[in-house]
């Protein structure tokens, strides 16, 4: 009786492991195939039956990509745009969120409701007028066009405001009694206590801007102004079915973010869990 229960538990565990390994395999295998293809020559790409490890690893494929497109310029553009947008958005959103959470001013709640109202509107609505303005101002192929639309976010303001509301007010009272103003409260109490919220919003903003495709596609024409996703599609346009080269380009484009992710994965995961539960 006890023995059969033990066996049942072991069988259950085995089933759980088998399913998990199968799913993990489905998640990872495409990437292994990508790297494998990226190291093949043209003949090996079309070979049947397929081979996973080519006879000679052709690292030259990567060099060929680097010669065809300014890959490091794409990388720089993505890193520069994503970093700048993230920093500016955190500053702009946290300041606004503080005013909404802590200062009594006229029409505050009406204004906040207006912010919430715009959160429902899809970005495609504002995209067209923004594109027209940036092109009339001759800011196509300019970093300003890539950065400005990302600086403000109703969602970011909302998220931080909710977090600030959960911080007990007594902490600030002591600063106010000491004669300190709102700036000291904000910088000495609210900001240090809100590190988890900043990490969450920061990670999301960075990732979203790093991977953003549609807007950079619209506002960049020059090759040297393209970000990674747009740059990769530009490369695809030139080397349509050279799969070994396309996969080398895909590998190179994914590698930087994967490295960042592996070193900071705690933030990604806890951040998602937090936004998921708060909303």
């Amino acid at each position: 009786m006890i023995k059969s229960k033990k066996y049942r538990e072991m069988a259950w565990k085995l089933l759980v492991y088998a399913l998990l390994i199968f799913i993990a395999f489905l998640m990872v295998m495409p990437f292994l195939w990508m790297v494998s293809t990226s190291l093949k020559n043209r003949a090996e790409v079309f070979q049947y039956p397929l081979i996973w490890i080519p006879e000679k690893l052709r690292w030259e494929n990567y060099l060929q990509v680097l010669e065809a497109v300014p890959f490091f310029k794409f990388l720089f553009n993505s890193a520069f745009v994503a970093t700048t947008v993230t920093l500016l958005q955190l500053i702009v959103c946290s300041m606004g969120a503080y005013a909404f959470a802590r200062i009594n001013f006229k029409n505050r709640d009406k204004l906040f409701l207006g912010y919430l109202g715009t959160m429902m509107i899809p970005s495609q609505v504002t995209m067209i007028p923004m594109f027209l303005v940036f092109s009339k101002l001759r800011l196509i192929d300019n970093y300003l066009a890539l950065i400005i639309p990302g600086i403000f976010s109703s969602y970011g303001t909302f998220l931080l405001r909710q977090f600030f509301m959960s911080i007990p007010r007594d902490l600030e009272d002591s600063v106010l009694i000491d004669g300190g103003g709102y700036w000291r409260c904000f910088l000495q109490i609210i900001v240090p206590l809100s590190k988890p919220a900043f990490a969450t919003l920061g990670t999301f903003t960075f990732l979203a801007n790093w991977n953003n495709f549609m807007w950079p596609l619209l506002v960049t024409n020059k090759v040297t102004m393209k970000t990674l996703p747009v740059g990769i599609m530009f490369f695809v346009g030139q080397y349509a079915v050279e799969w070994h080269l396309l996969m080398a380009a895909a590998t190179m484009s994914l590698l930087p973010m994967l490295l960042v992710y592996l070193f900071t994965q705690k933030y990604f995961v806890t951040g998602i869990a937090m936004t998921g539960l708060k909303a």
């Binding site: 759980v16 489905l26 195939w33 200062i103 715009t118 067209i128 973010m257 592996l262």
Partner: protein
């Protein structure tokens, strides 16, 4: 007198609000109003816009055969990705929520597709889907002896292929949210159920699922909203083809606005998209009382 003098509170509020409010006006509110006005005009980027009232909206619903088609395609995409995606994510989250070794590693692996750009991941899947020589076609041939269809160029398979990719891409994200939801369920419920002699399956149906409904509701609402805006993967995998079967609302909007430069028409389309998203979200909100368990 108090009205004329700005109080200390008001000065402080404005210094904190100024950058934020400027952003709100310039990046959000004014473009929204501009888009509304634009949707009432005929404007081919060159030249001047002409006011045409509601003609764009009328054209969308009476003369443009492709618009109902792209709405339908988007609905098919949502029905294909969202329920299966949620069911799979709940299953995987439950598997991960047990006392097993290597949990952290599994979570890291599952999340890899989420941090990848949709463009690069879709490019990789385009290669997996390639006719005859793609990994999927080769595996179907060598393992099952089946001749695979041309996934992305066959009208019967193209949308299915886009859907499978999208489920794969989002799975890890939903799993992490469901894991957080599962960890919020108090173990006392399960202990009580064990005392009552419930088996694993009963515990899952009678405790886990009902207590997970708030999380399910959240994931349902947010994934439907984002699926209505699907663009990147259709752009990379199929360019809306073959024969327009994977052309979604935003893809068609992109073509109108930025390939054919019909700015007014594309704006009208964006507003229809907003109205659809809002209507669907409100309906879900209204019906949550029927099945979502808050306590």
């Amino acid at each position: 007198m108090g009205k004329k003098r700005l109080s200390r509170e008001n000065v402080a509020a404005w210094t904190f609000l100024l950058p934020n409010l400027t952003g709100f006006l310039l990046i959000s509110l004014i473009p929204i109003v501009a888009s509304m006005v634009l949707s009432l005009t005929d404007w081919k980027i060159m030249g001047k816009p002409t006011f045409i009232g509601l003609k764009n909206y009328m054209e969308l619903f009476t003369r443009d055969d492709r618009f109902p088609q792209v709405i339908w395609n988007t609905v098919v995409f949502i029905i294909g990705t969202v329920p299966v995606g949620i069911a799979l994510a709940i299953l995987v989250a439950n598997l991960l929520n047990q006392r097993i070794k290597g949990r952290a590693l599994f979570r890291v692996l599952l999340f890899i597709p989420v941090v990848c750009s949709t463009v690069s991941a879709a490019l990789l899947w385009k290669w997996l889907y390639a006719k005859d020589i793609g990994l999927i076609a080769q595996m179907l041939r060598s393992v099952f002896g089946i001749k695979a269809p041309d996934f992305l160029l066959d009208t019967k398979w193209a949308m299915f292929s886009v859907i499978v990719f999208s489920i794969w891409k989002a799975l890890g994200y939903n799993v992490v949210i469901f894991l957080a939801g599962l960890q919020g369920i108090s173990p006392t419920y399960y202990e009580a159920a064990i005392v009552d002699g419930a088996n694993t399956f009963q515990k899952f149906l009678k405790i886990t699922i009902p207590l997970l409904t708030p999380t399910i509701f959240f994931v349902l609402v947010t994934s439907i909203i984002s699926s209505f805006q699907v663009f990147d993967q259709t752009f990379v995998l199929t360019k809306g083809g073959p024969a327009g079967v994977t052309s979604t609302i935003v893809y068609y909007l992109y073509e109108n606005g930025f390939v054919w430069y019909r700015m007014g028409y594309a704006s009208a389309m964006a507003w229809i998209l907003f109205l659809i998203i809002m209507a669907v979200t409100i309906v879900q909100w209204k019906f949550q009382g029927e099945w979502v368990n808050y306590d």
